[in-house]
């Protein structure tokens, strides 16, 4: 199965693995949340991760930029192996953008300042240059006209688009999406998904935890189904949706698509 997907993804990017997760195990106390996760993501690949709540999907992608610490196994991001060294972690984080379920914009800063902060402090760019980059990305998510407002003055969909722009400003190699549309009103989901689809078409390497199956069908190279901390099934979307192999996946799909 994995060979089949690998040959399929070569078309969308080079063969260089962007993320290599090898025998990853994680416990919360004595609770085994991630069990022997193996996942290789090549450059330009778009992966959608789904599964019931508590299955460890968020935890897994949060391990990739060390928001969660793992106890066993290894993670290599863009050739840099993850260790507990703070400098190393920060080096990896500079290459990995993340979008959160609850946006996590900085409420005391304007939209523009939100986008400039890490460019100025992490990349040490001059303010004018940072603002130019920020406006470019805000333009791309179609929110440049709100640049001087505070996050609290925007709708949920607008805030999430700002959050995407903020992550993109760092010009990351990989984007992680942790249920980006779950906290949104239904009428705002589309504007965020449109931005994500556009990003996918531009060749960004993406890992998305989401329940938006339409999005998975449109852009994913691979869909991963997780349950109880394990990867149960991993397949290209048409295979995943049309003939899921495991019973657990079939049940999940019937519940999520059946309503």
């Amino acid at each position: 199965m994995s060979e089949a997907t690998a040959s399929q993804t070569t078309a969308s990017g080079s063969d260089r693995p962007m993320i290599e997760i090898d025998h990853l195990n994680k416990w919360y106390g004595s609770f085994h949340v991630l069990r022997d996760i193996n996942l290789t993501v090549t450059k330009g690949e778009r992966i959608v991760i789904c599964g019931p709540s508590g299955s460890g999907k968020s935890t897994m992608i949060r391990c990739i930029n060390h928001l969660e610490e793992h106890q066993q196994g290894s993670i290599v991001v863009n050739g840099v192996p993850m260790t507990n060294d703070v400098k190393r972690i920060e080096q990896i984080r500079r290459n990995v953008g993340m979008v959160f379920q609850h946006f996590n914009l900085f409420p005391h800063l304007t939209v523009l300042e939100n986008c400039c902060l890490s460019q100025i402090w992490v990349q040490k760019k001059p303010r004018a240059e940072a603002e130019k980059t920020a406006m470019e990305y805000l333009e791309r998510v179609q929110i440049a006209n709100q640049a001087l407002k505070y996050p609290g003055q925007l709708s949920g969909g607008q805030q999430q688009r700002v959050a995407i722009a903020r992550a993109l400003c760092m010009r990351p190699e990989v984007m992680l999406f942790d249920e980006p549309t779950s906290a949104l009103d239904p009428e705002m989901i589309k504007e965020v998904l449109d931005v994500m689809i556009e990003l996918a078409h531009e060749g960004m390497t993406m890992l998305c935890v989401t329940h938006e199956m339409g999005f998975a069908k449109t852009v994913a190279d691979r869909v991963i189904f997780m349950d109880q901390g394990q990867i149960i099934e991993e397949a290209p979307p048409h295979e995943f949706f049309n003939n899921p192999r495991s019973e657990r996946t079939q049940l999940f799909l019937s519940q999520i698509l059946g309503h």
Binding site: N65, F100, F106, G152, Q153, M170
Partner: protein
């Protein structure tokens, strides 16, 4: 044909909210006299206020004596403010030598200008003015007030007193306890057991001891422990004690603010590659401090008022110098005037801080959480 659905053809225009206020009389009706019980309560309260406030006004303003230089000027039935005006210089400067009081005036003026500059949002160069206020002013104030260099006469701190001493202690206490409190609050939340332990012990020790004890320790006990020829100033010792004492309170106020900032903010900062100090200084602290402005200013106000406790270790602050004036044989029997005046001075400073904090809170409000 009938249907059970309805629909609108025209949208209703937005209208202005109805006006709830109907003049002064309307306000009185609505708030003081809306019903028999409230009317009775209002009348009783107004009567009591009149009974209390009017005699006070009579005493403090109408029947008071204002002009004169000696006790002989006190002829009326009311307060004799001549007591205050005759001793005004010493209330402000304490025992500071007459010839050198211009030095205190310069420091007062500088302080007033800098505070006003920082308080008015429209004025530019805030960063540099703040830097000057925190670094330049203390150095200039030190050389001017202490003297002993640049041809200025040396004035030992035991000659300091009055409002000048109160403000010195209050300003240094405030400026010292806030940053120290921030560091302690961050330390207490640290994951490093050693740092955390030190901060917890420091906070719990200073919070558990009364300020009077701290001052006694600073003035009486400390000299017993340090070598005899190593004499460091009593005012300095008291200042350090006050700073440590209030920084412990400040730390807990600030920690409550840090606690209120969601984990998501830190995570967003981490995901962007910001390091600990950047996340703390740029994301967490600005939000946390804004949240606890009322608590911080509350602590400032308590600190300001508690500077009067230094009188028990023989420092002559505003209150102590007024008390000293009461024992002057020329001015026996004017304690009410003295204490009312002291209360008024403390109140003006504390109330200004309170109002300014409310103004700052409104100004920093960016609308909504998250």
């Amino acid at each position: 044909m009938t249907t059970d659905s309805t629909f609108r053809t025209e949208m209703i225009e937005a209208r202005e909210a109805p006006d709830q206020r109907r003049g002064v009389i309307g306000w009185f009706r609505a708030n003081l006299f809306n019903g028999p019980i409230n009317s009775i309560v209002s009348i009783v309260v107004i009567y009591l206020l009149a009974r209390l406030v009017w005699p006070f006004l009579e005493w403090a303003v109408i029947d008071a004596d204002w002009i004169g230089t000696t006790r002989d000027a006190c002829t009326g039935d009311g307060a004799c403010w001549v007591f205050i005006s005759a001793r005004f210089e010493s209330i402000i400067y304490g025992f500071y030598p007459d010839a050198a009081r211009w030095r205190v005036d310069i420091v007062f003026a500088l302080l007033a200008i800098l505070v006003a500059w920082l308080a008015v949002p429209k004025l530019p160069y805030k960063k540099w003015v703040a830097l000057f206020a925190l670094v330049g002013l203390p150095i200039i104030a030190y050389f001017l007030l202490v003297g002993g260099s640049f041809g200025l006469e040396y004035v030992p701190t035991r000659a300091w007193g009055g409002l000048m001493l109160t403000l010195t202690i209050a300003v240094l206490g405030i400026v010292g306890s806030l940053p120290l409190g921030i560091i302690l609050a961050l330390g207490r939340r640290s994951k490093m057991p050693f740092v955390k332990g030190i901060c917890v012990i420091f906070i719990e020790f200073w919070r558990g001891v009364p300020l009077i004890t701290v001052l006694f320790m600073a003035s009486v006990m400390l000299p017993l422990f340090v070598p005899g020829d190593f004499d460091f100033d009593k005012l300095l010792r008291a200042l350090i004690g006050i700073m440590f004492f209030w920084s412990a309170y400040m730390a807990e106020v600030i920690r409550s603010g840090l606690q209120a900032i969601g984990k998501g903010q830190t995570e967003a900062g981490q995901a962007l590659g910001l390091n600990y100090w950047q996340r703390t200084g740029l994301i967490v602290l600005p939000q946390a401090l804004k949240l606890v402005i009322p608590g911080i200013v509350n602590t400032f106000i308590a600190l300001f008022k508690d500077t009067s406790l230094v009188l028990i270790i023989g420092l002559f602050d505003l209150l102590a110098i007024i008390r000293a004036g009461l024992t002057d044989s020329n001015w026996l029997g004017f304690s009410t005037e003295g204490y009312v005046f002291a209360a008024a001075v403390y109140w003006v400073f504390c109330f200004s801080m309170s109002r300014y904090s409310q103004y700052i809170e409104r100004r920093l409000n960016t609308g909504h959480k998250r």
